[in-house]
Amino acid sequence: MEFPDIFWGVIAWMILWGVVGSIAIRRRYLQHDLDTSNAGFVGATVGAATGPVGLIPLWLNTPELGGRLVVLPAIVAVLLVVGAFAIADPSNNCVASGSFVASQFTNGLIIGIIYGFMALGLTLIFSILGIVSFSHGEFYMIGGMLVYYITAVWFPGINPLLAIAMACAAVFALGAAFERLFLTPMYQGKIDRPVEYGILITFGLAFTLQYFVQATAGANPVKVQRFFDFPKIRLPSTEDPWLIKTSRGNLELFDTVSISNPRFTAAVACIMVLLALLYFLHRTWTGKALRAVSQDREAAAIAGINPDRMNMLAFAMGAMIAALAGSLLVQAFSWLPQVGNIPAMRSFVIVVLGGLGSLPGAFLGGIIVGLVEAAGTGCIPDAQKAASYIPAYGMVVLTLTLLLRPTGLFGRRFAGGTHGKV
């Protein structure tokens, strides 16, 4: 169906004032010798949310751009878009059906947790090594592939948890070996431009791994049986307006939201591993050493930490996290050698949105991207087009982030991408 002009009118109006705001406010702050790190972003969101009404006082007063001024206009702007959409297309499922919205929201949240978890590995690698690993998607793919081969081909009937552990261990070893063999010259000052080297060499690894798997495993999609069945539950009791009902492969909440078993178990496992990871990073010596290296290599070395070994650990752990995400999702999607491309792109989007090198940012970014994708697929009227554009939703988020706030939500000042050299 065609969208009425009002929707496009509102969008055009918001873009116009967003652009005006981001340029004018930044200039103004620059002239007044104030902190401009948020000026462009706040200018754009205030402009988009309120138009000239909000921009003029902002331009006149140039207040300090702290927490509330950053968050509020962004929320208002998002609400405005949603409102315009609701007025423009009142019969859309996203507007008319509350249960559809709830269902999309829950599924977006769950898949977002998994995305965020996967992006965590990428951001861990970046925070220690200062490179963006382009082979992240391939580690994800190999994790799933290994679980398929272990459970279905090599050792049928094995406990899936054991299979996952084996796959993770294998990818951990692969990541460690790759780091030792190919990334070590980066820290020995043998390479003029380590960031570019890191990008190209991981790109080469991705290429090699993808075709290696395709050559050995074939290009036919494979799928793994779901790992666990839900117990049959119907709460509060057998009476009709129930709250939770489960069948073996599905979980239903309040008669409206339906969550499939593989995604649910994957999300729960991700949260548990995330908690374990946080414990590791904040409570153990090795984890603290990792964080110390990410903050200051030289100081960490002086304190008796071997930064090179932390590099290996970080890369291997990042690869393992991707593999774990893959081995959890192999029960939800059919698996191909190319399956890693889209999650890899998504992880890039998420880490940039959350701020390269920021762990909470990656997780929050994952949830945001999951929700945006759920909204994009659910709300665009033409379902076929909506599905084709899935890779593009995240990219729109990425573009907006890079334009408005290159450091991301929680970004440390790594905007140059050159680690260590701010």
């Binding site: 970046f126 490179i131 963006v132 382009f134 063999l181 190919f182 010259p185 390479i191 431009r193 960031v195 570019e196 080297y197 990008i199 190209l200 060499i201 790109f203 080469g204 690894l205 290429f207 090699t208 791994l209 075709y211 290696f212 395709q214 050559a215 491309n341 792109m345 890039f348 989007v349 940039v352 390269l356 087009k385 084709s388 554009y389 899935i390 890779p391 593009a392 995240g394 990219m395 729109v396 990425l398 573009t399 890079l402 334009l403 290159p406 905007a415 140059g416 991408g417 050159t418």
Partner: protein
């Protein structure tokens, strides 16, 4: 004498490529010619990418996307624009004297609508009385090139503030959005079905008294070869002028370059525009030569190939990148044949890419200047080290005497 070797080799290669279509006459002539044309196509992409990444340090992973913009613009131009001798009364059309510029309405790809666009309906009504001419191929390629430059300008302006990893991610994202858009907008781009394009010389062409039909490989061979030479000459001219110095300064240290008075904004955008125009032109010509353009030509694999060719050849020398691309394209084609080891089939269509990936990684790890560039350097600049040492010795002797 030794420094003349690369020039002699260059002239020799040039002569070889010019003479090749007339000298070679084995049974697989068409196949080899096709590989040659594809190799030239990749050589254009790899050498322009090496200018962007190797000289200017802008590691863009969207190069293949710009190629796609060129190809799709060219395809859509030849697909939707026609000149007719009479108004159709159905299409959007503009009158220029006695001819009408007709813009055909997009109809998508469902089987019932395939022959139902407004021009076809009009042709049915006219019954062959009105002449319908399609647009000249060269105009389409020019427009595709310009469109590539326009997008290059926009992306170049957008990525001005981004460095290294962010730039790579953004350009990769740009290429992905482009692919998604082309796959999704089925009414206009025909999605995965791809857009058919007329051959470069739809009615054949006569060169030096010899007629070549539209399926003949010789004319597209020389068109692509000429385009490669034009691109290489532009790149050579640029790299030897101030431009080359400036973009290399940009690569080494952007802030220092700006402090020394290099207009970093201008040169960063300029290098984007120039290289993307080359990619777009190559895309347009390749599209006309192959006869179809599909979203699959924008796959990441293609970008990987371009990157790998440039890196293996030598990313900081566009000549080496071009030669590397030609050699690798040939090697990849020659390795296509599967073979058996002890009854076990080795599917070389995939293993060759694995080998290629390992070669890429090893080159990066152990020969950072690529495999071709050091050879050129050995001949062209090998004497420089010796001369420098001699000069230094002479200077120190002179110092002793003084």
């Amino acid at each position: 004498m030794r420094q003349q070797v690369p020039y002699l080799m260059g002239v020799g290669l040039l002569a070889l490529f010019v003479a090749f279509p007339f000298v070679y006459s084995a049974g697989d002539y068409d196949y080899i010619m096709h590989i040659m044309i594809t190799a030239f196509f990749y050589a254009i992409l790899a050498s322009s990418w090496s200018m962007l990444a190797g000289y200017a340090g802008q590691f863009s992973f969207g190069h293949i996307g710009f190629m796609g913009i060129g190809a799709y613009t060219t395809a859509m131009f030849s697909h939707y624009f026609y000149l007719t001798g009479a108004p159709t009364g159905l299409c959007t059309e503009y009158q220029f004297g006695a001819t009408w510029l007709v813009i055909v309405n997009p109809i998508g790809v469902t089987s019932t609508t395939l022959t139902q666009d407004c021009l076809r309906q009009a042709i049915d009504v006219w019954g062959g009385t009105v002449e319908v001419t399609s647009m000249p191929v060269w105009l389409g390629i020019t427009l595709g090139t310009i469109m590539g430059g326009v997008f290059g300008l926009m992306v170049g302006l957008l990525v001005l503030r981004l460095r290294a990893a962010y730039l790579a991610l953004f350009t990769l994202g740009f290429a992905e959005i482009l692919k998604a858009t082309i796959s999704a907008e089925i009414e206009i781009t025909r999605g995965q079905a791809g857009m058919e394009m007329p051959a470069l010389f739809e009615n054949g062409v006569t060169i030096f008294g010899r007629f070549y039909s539209k399926t003949d490989k010789v004319p597209p061979y020389f068109v692509m070869f000429a385009l490669l030479l034009v691109c290489l000459s532009i790149l050579a001219w640029l790299s030897h002028s101030k431009f080359g110095l400036f973009v290399r300064a940009l690569r080494e240290d952007q802030d220092a370059a700006a402090a020394l008075g290099v207009n970093t904004t201008r040169y960063k955008v300029l290098v984007f525009v120039i290289t993307t125009m080359m990619a777009a032109a190559a895309g347009g010509v390749q599209g006309h030569y192959v006869g179809i353009v599909t979203p699959n030509s924008l796959f990441l694999l293609q970008m990987s190939l371009v990157v790998a060719m440039a890196v293996i050849g030598g990313v900081e020398s566009f000549i080496a990148a071009a030669i590397g691309a030609i050699i690798i394209e040939f090697a990849l084609e020659m390795l296509r044949n599967s073979f058996y080891i002890g009854g076990f089939e080795v599917d070389m269509t995939l293993w060759r890419l694995v080998i290629f990936g390992i070669l890429l990684m090893l080159t990066l790890r152990f020969a950072r200047n690529g495999l071709i560039a050091p050879i050129i350097n050995y001949f062209a600049r090998g004497h420089v080290a010796g001369e420098t040492v001699a000069k230094r010795d002479a200077a120190s002797e002179a110092g002793l005497v003084k």
